[in-house]
C-alpha cells in the first residue's frame, strides 16, 4: 500500500514505489530468482557485516519499503525511531527494506531455512499468513516475551491471531484493511456491498486483487463463509462466484497495487482495494471512495518474527519492546499511516498536534468498534489446503 499523506497529496507521492506496489510487480525480474535463491539471498545482504556470523551485536531488521519513519534513501533518519532506539538502548541496528513480496521472500529464504542455515536478519516482517507458514515449518524462534513487557500494550485482537494461536512466534508490526474501492465518476454512486462488484452495469470494469486472501476473503464473507477456519471445500462457492465473474467478462483484470492507477483512470469502476491507498487517492481525487462492505472486510497485518539461527535475539526483543511503547509507535504511525497494533497511539497522535492529530480521527487508521467488528482475519491454511487454494485461484486468474 502506498503511504498515505493526507496533508500533502501530490502526484509524486502516488508514484512512490510502495510496499504493496511491489506485491503487484512481484516476480518481474524473478525468473532467475527461483533458480538461485541462495545466490540472491547472498546478494541482497549488504557487504557490511550483515552476515549472521559477523559476531558484533548489531541487530538486523529486514522490512517492507516505506514502512517506518525514515526518509527514503537514508540509513536511519535523524530523530526517527531507528535513531532514537539506538540512542536509548545503545543497541546498533541495521535496517533494510528487502521484502517486496511474501512469496518472493519465501522463495529466497526457503533453501537456507530448510537446511537450518541462518538467513541473516534477526527480525523479518512478513504478512500474518506467511508468518503462520514459517511458524508451522518451525523456521522461527520462540519470542522471549518476558523481555517484551510492552507487548501488553497491543490491541487484543492482534495478539493471538489464528496464524499464531499461542502468540509466541510472531508479534504485529502494522495492520490494514481490504474493502471496496470505487470511482464515483464511473459508478455514479457509492458502493457498499460485494454484490455491487457483480452488478452487470459495471461489466468489464471490475478489478480484483492478485492477493488471494483479500479477493477470495471478501467474496467468501459476502456468501456468509467465515474466514477463521478455512477449508477448500467450504470456500468452493467463493471460487465459483469469482470464476463466473471472470467467465462472463464482469471482472476485467487481477492486479497488485497498480489497481490504484486503473481506478483513477476510470478503467476500473470499482475493485477490491486496500484502505491505505484509497485515503491518499481520495485526497487528490474526491470521486474515489472506499467502503468496508456490509458483509465485512478483511483485516491483514504484518508481523515481526525471529528466524531460526538469528544471532541477536536479545536485541530483537529490545527493539520490539521499544516500538510497542505508544509514544514511539505513534511516531511510526504518523509517518506510515497504517493501523497501529499498539493501544494509546491515538492519544499520542493528538498530543503531537497538526497533521498527526488529524490522523487520529481517521476511520481507516483508527476504525471504530463497529467497523472492527465486521472485519475478519484469515485462519491458518495447512499446507495441502493452501496448495488447493493457490492452484484454484491461479486457474481463475489465467495462470
Amino acid at each position: 500500500m502506498t503511504k498515505r499523506r493526507i496533508s500533502t497529496p501530490s502526484p509524486t507521492s502516488q508514484a512512490d514505489l510502495s510496499r504493496r506496489k511491489f506485491l503487484g510487480t512481484s516476480g518481474l525480474a524473478l525468473g532467475g530468482l527461483a533458480l538461485g535463491p541462495a545466490l540472491l539471498a547472498a546478494c541482497s545482504s549488504d557487504s557490511s557485516g550483515g552476515d549472521a556470523s559477523s559476531g558484533d551485536n548489531e541487530l538486523w531488521f529486514d522490512n517492507w519499503t516505506l514502512y517506518i519513519d525514515k526518509p527514503e534513501g537514508e540509513l536511519y533518519g535523524k530523530g526517527g525511531t531507528l535513531d532514537s532506539f539506538q540512542n536509548a538502548s545503545g543497541q546498533k541496528i541495521k535496517y533494510t527494506e528487502g521484502i517486496n513480496d511474501n512469496n518472493e521472500y519465501f522463495a529466497k529464504i526457503q533453501p537456507l531455512l530448510s537446511q537450518d542455515k541462518p538467513i541473516g536478519p534477526d527480525i523479518i516482517a512478513l504478512t500474518f499468513w506467511m508468518a503462520g507458514r514459517l511458524t508451522t515449518l518451525g523456521w522461527v524462534e520462540k519470542l522471549p516475551l518476558d523481555k517484551i513487557p510492552n507487548s501488553a500494550n497491543l490491541i487484543e485482537s492482534l495478539t493471538k491471531p489464528p496464524s499464531d494461536p499461542t502468540g509466541e512466534y510472531s508479534l504485529p508490526w502494522q495492520a490494514g484493511m481490504a474493502g471496496i474501492a470505487y470511482n464515483k465518476s464511473v459508478t455514479g454512486r457509492a458502493l457498499n456491498s460485494v454484490d455491487d462488484l457483480f452488478d452487470p452495469a459495471f461489466k468489464g470494469k471490475i478489478g480484483m486483487l492478485l492477493e488471494m486472501r483479500d479477493t477470495i476473503g471478501l467474496i467468501a464473507m459476502s456468501l456468509g463463509i467465515d474466514l477463521a477456519t478455512p477449508t477448500f471445500e467450504k470456500f468452493q462457492p467463493a471460487f465459483d462466484k469469482l470464476k463466473e465473474g471472470v467467465d462472463s467478462g464482469q471482472i476485467r483484470q487481477f492486479t497488485g497495487n497498480d489497481y490504484v492507477d486503473d481506478l483513477e483512470q476510470g478503467s476500473f469502476a470499482a475493485c477490491i482495494g486496500w484502505s491505505g491507498d484509497v485515503v491518499q487517492l481520495s485526497a487528490s481525487n474526491p470521486d474515489i471512495g472506499f467502503s468496508i462492505p456490509e458483509s465485512g472486510g478483511t483485516l491483514w497485518f504484518d508481523t515481526m518474527q525471529i528466524p531460526v539461527g538469528a544471532s541477536n535475539v536479545e536485541g530483537a526483543a529490545e527493539w520490539m519492546n521499544y516500538v510497542y511503547d505508544p509514544v514511539n509507535a505513534a511516531k511510526i504511525t504518523a509517518e506510515v499511516q497504517y493501523i497501529s497494533p499498539v493501544q494509546g497511539v491515538q492519544e499520542e497522535l493528538r498530543k503531537m498536534g497538526g497533521d498527526a492529530a488529524a490522523l487520529a480521527d481517521s476511520q481507516l487508521v483508527f476504525p471504530d468498534a463497529s467497523t472492527l467488528a465486521t472485519l475478519q482475519s484469515w485462519g491458518n491454511l495447512d499446507e495441502e489446503e493452501e496448495a488447493l487454494f493457490d492452484a484454484e485461484f491461479a486457474k481463475i486468474t489465467g495462470a
Binding site: L35, D101, I251, Q253, G266, T397, G398, A399
Partner: protein
C-alpha cells in the same frame, strides 16, 4: 637472433591454443549461465516434491511433462499466436521505417536510428505500465476510436488480446528495426537503378532485388522479437486479462506462488523445445545465412 627465433617459436606454439583462449570467456559464460541452468532445469522437471515446501527430489517424474501439455494448452497456443502476430506486426511497422531511414535518412541516419532506440533506455516495466495510461478507457486513443461511427460503446483495448499483442509489438519493435536497417544499409541501391534499366518497375525492383537482399535482417529480427515475446508475461499482466494469459504467466505463478518447481521447469523446457523447433523450421525456409548479419 637466437632469442628472437625462440620467441617466435613460443608465439607459434601459443598460437595453437589462442583460439581456445579467446573463446574461453564465451565458453565459460555459456557453460555457467546456459548449460548448467538448463541441466538444473531438466533435473527439476523430472523431480517430485515430498511436500509443498520441500526441495524437489530427482525421481524421473515424467508426469510433469504430461501435465505441462494437458493442463496449459490454451496458454501455449495463445503464447505462440500472440508472439506470431506481434512479430508480423513488427515487420509491417519496422520494415518501412528501417527502409525509409536507410534510403532517405541521409546525414540524419544515425540520429534517426538513435531515436528508434531512445525509448528503450526506459525500463521495460515502466514502458508497459505507460501503455495502460495511453490505452485507458477514457483516454485520448480510445476517445478517438469511439468517435468513429459503428464502434460499440464498450469497445476497449486494455484487458483484450489486442492490448497484449500491441504491447508485445511495441516492446520488441526495435529488435526488428535494427537488424533490418543493418541489412538494408549494406545494399548498394544502384542495383535498383540497374533493375530500372532492365525495364523493372520500382515495385519489381523492390520485390526481386531489395527484399531478398534484406531477408537476413528480417530473419534475425523475427527471431529477436518472436522468442522473447512467446515467453513474455509482463504484457499480459498489465495490458491483458485472465482470458489472455500466456505461458509465462503460468511459469511465474508456478514458480513463485505455488512452489510447483517441477511443473514450472517442465513448462519452461517445453517452451524452449517448441521455440527451438519452430526456429529450425523457419531457418530451413529462410536460410541460416541470416544469422551471420
Amino acid at each position: 637472433m637466437a632469442a628472437d627465433t625462440s620467441s617466435d617459436d613460443r608465439g607459434l606454439r601459443k598460437g595453437k591454443w589462442a583460439p581456445y583462449g579467446l573463446l574461453s570467456p564465451g565458453i565459460l559464460w555459456l557453460v555457467l549461465f546456459f548449460l548448467v541452468p538448463v541441466m538444473i532445469l531438466v533435473r527439476t522437471a523430472l523431480s517430485s516434491k515430498a511436500s509443498r515446501f520441500a526441495n524437489p527430489e530427482f525421481s524421473w517424474q515424467f508426469s510433469n511433462f504430461t501435465s505441462a501439455f494437458t493442463d496449459y494448452g490454451p496458454q501455449f497456443v495463445r503464447s505462440f499466436l500472440f508472439a506470431g502476430i506481434a512479430t508480423i506486426s513488427a515487420i509491417l511497422i519496422g520494415y518501412p521505417l528501417a527502409y525509409w531511414i536507410a534510403t532517405q535518412g541521409g546525414r540524419w541516419k544515425n540520429l534517426l536510428i538513435g531515436l528508434v532506440v531512445v525509448p528503450f533506455f526506459t525500463s521495460y516495466l515502466i514502458r508497459t505500465i505507460a501503455w495502460t495510461s495511453l490505452l485507458k478507457d477514457d483516454g485520448v486513443i480510445l476517445n478517438v476510436i469511439h468517435a468513429i461511427p459503428f464502434v460499440p460503446q464498450d469497445f476497449r483495448l486494455l484487458a483484450t488480446p489486442a492490448g497484449v499483442i500491441g504491447g508485445l509489438t511495441y516492446n520488441f519493435l526495435s529488435f526488428m528495426i535494427l537488424p533490418i536497417y543493418v541489412s538494408l544499409e549494406k545494399i548498394d541501391f544502384r542495383l535498383t537503378e540497374a533493375a530500372a534499366d532492365l525495364y523493372g518497375t520500382p515495385w519489381q525492383a523492390f520485390k526481386k532485388v531489395v527484399l531478398p537482399l534484406s531477408m537476413p535482417g528480417v530473419f534475425a529480427g523475427s527471431l529477436l522479437v518472436f522468442i522473447p515475446a512467446a515467453g513474455d508475461y509482463l504484457n499480459n499482466r498489465y495490458l491483458g486479462s485472465p482470458k489472455t494469459s500466456m505461458i509465462g504467466t503460468v511459469v511465474q505463478d508456478k514458480f513463485l506462488v505455488q512452489f510447483d518447481y517441477p511443473v514450472a521447469a517442465a513448462l519452461s523446457l517445453v517452451l524452449m523445445a517448441i521455440i527451438t523447433t519452430m526456429v529450425l523450421i523457419y531457418s530451413k525456409f529462410l536460410g541460416t545465412e541470416g544469422l551471420a548479419v
